[in-house]
């Protein structure tokens, strides 16, 4: 089988899972009306398949900031910060992130994916070890691979399993980076951070926490799991993304370790890429300000999360262990997941379809992302529709 035939074989396997030209992945969205509604084909759909947790995509403050930045600085930076320089906005946003997390250093990356890639591959290298949760996001896996460090997995959110693997490392724990996530993207559950921190301190390794899904969602000011648990000062490096609660694109890393600054000179995903555009930086700065003051948005978000989680649980669906903005219905087969996804779309609800091997433990997921500006009626409609479809899905093998 030659190179192109191998790709054809992979495409055939994908088509076998998604018959009749169903476009569950990368579905065309023709128009976006608001943070909660868009048009897919000729349907006006409810958006439950975004990560727009605070619902800020159309906030006047973010839009105005982006407009002003384009007028003042143009559409793009056309190069990397290392070669082409750092605009005022890049430096201001880094200072604002450092202030937000009460940290001495902060680096802004062009995407959230690159924030993990750049931070991990800058911190560890060949001969070092990374100990990661088995359900880690692909950006964490890819950052570890890029680093050349030895990659060891522990069972998802299983602290006893994590300790077993730390113990086996012996003296190598001194050069070990442990990585966990504030909220995991598949089931929406949270890392047992207090227990992880205890182990990190007992074994003397370094801890990185990815707050991609928990930034803006957890904690009084929205710092994430570090704030909810009061463990901000115990985590060595925090990464996150702008593409969820902050409604743009980009990523960051903050730390009190002065070594973070060195990543600017060794981290290829930071050095060899164009810096974020002025409009992106400006809208992110406006969104960060709204996020910090957004306790009312978090309250609305959690009301919506609890309402939908309860409705799906009551209807009989198997869900992740914690209510939160990521609510995934776990079903046994890809066929059941596809049917549920299709039926929801027929009812004008757009959610995410996740099939093996992307879903944990060989299961399939239909994943909802709740946001702060979904109305009570919208959430009720989604819950009622899921409930109506439960028997259809259960009887379908």
């Amino acid at each position: 089988m030659n190179l192109l035939e191998k790709i054809d074989a992979a495409a055939a396997a994908r088509k076998a899972l998604l018959p009749n030209g169903v476009g569950a992945f990368g579905i065309p969205i023709e128009e976006v009306y608001s943070a909660t509604e868009a048009r897919i084909g000729d349907r006006r759909v409810l958006l439950l398949g975004t990560n727009n947790y605070l619902g800020l995509t159309f906030s006047p403050e973010c839009i105005q900031a982006a407009h002003e930045a384009i007028d003042k600085e143009g559409t793009g930076t056309t190069g990397s910060r290392m070669a082409n320089g750092s605009y005022f906005g890049h430096r201001a946003l880094e200072k604002e992130f450092a202030d937000f997390y009460q940290c001495s250093s902060s680096i802004v990356f062009t995407t959230g994916y690159q924030a993990n890639l750049g931070t991990i591959s800058g911190l560890v290298g060949p001969g070092d070890t990374v100990l990661i949760d088995g359900d880690s996001h692909a950006s964490i896996y890819d950052g570890c691979i890029l680093s050349g460090a030895d990659i060891i997995r522990f069972k998802h959110n299983d602290v006893a399993d994590m300790e077993k693997r730390l113990r086996r490392l012996g003296n190598r724990v001194e050069t070990t980076l442990v990585i966990a996530e504030g909220i995991y993207s598949m089931l929406g559950d949270q890392a047992p951070l207090a227990e992880i921190v205890k182990l990190k301190n007992a074994y003397g390794c370094v801890l990185l926490l990815d707050e991609a899904h928990s930034l803006g969602v957890l904690g009084e000011t929205g710092q994430g799991l570090v704030e909810k648990t009061g463990l901000l000062q115990e985590v060595d490096f925090i990464t996150g993304t702008f593409s969820k609660s902050l409604c743009s694109i980009g990523g960051f890393c903050v730390s009190n370790h002065p070594q973070l600054e060195q990543l600017r000179y060794i981290s290829h995903p930071y050095i060899f890429t164009a810096s974020p555009s002025p409009a992106t930086i400006a809208s992110t700065r406006a969104a960060l300000e709204l996020l910090r003051k957004g306790s009312h948005l978090r309250k609305q978000l959690w009301n919506n999360c609890t309402q939908l989680y309860s409705a799906l649980k009551e209807a009989g669906y198997v869900l992740g262990p914690d209510p939160g903005p990521v609510i995934a219905a776990v079903v046994d087969t890809p066929q059941q997941a596809l049917l549920l996804w299709q039926q929801l779309l027929e009812h004008n609800i757009y959610v995410n379809l996740i099939l093996p091997p992307a879903a944990p433990e060989g299961k399939s997921l239909v994943r909802c992302s709740v946001n702060a500006v979904h109305t009570e009626n919208q959430i009720r409609y989604v819950g009622d529709t899921f409930a109506k479809l439960y028997s259809v899905i259960s009887s379908h093998s």
């Binding site: 030895d150 060891i152 997995r153 086996r168 093996p356 091997p357």
Partner: protein
Amino acid sequence: MTDSNYDEIMQLLCDRLSSLTNSNAQISPETNLISQLSIDSIKLLNLIMEVEDAFDISIPINALADVQTVRELVDLVHKIKSVSQ
């Protein structure tokens, strides 16, 4: 490093692969994990965690990049186990 060690690893891996694939196919040292047993990446990673626990060793998953057959997997585990003893 003894042959009995190697045989023990081979036996354990063949047993686990057999139950993972739910297949009656004969598993031999030359069996290809992906093309013949359809072991996907997540199943393989979970299998590695089981093997780590069975032998109390650490197996970096990046070492799997060169593994295609059952024999290559056994060789890898045997090498790590021998070094750790």
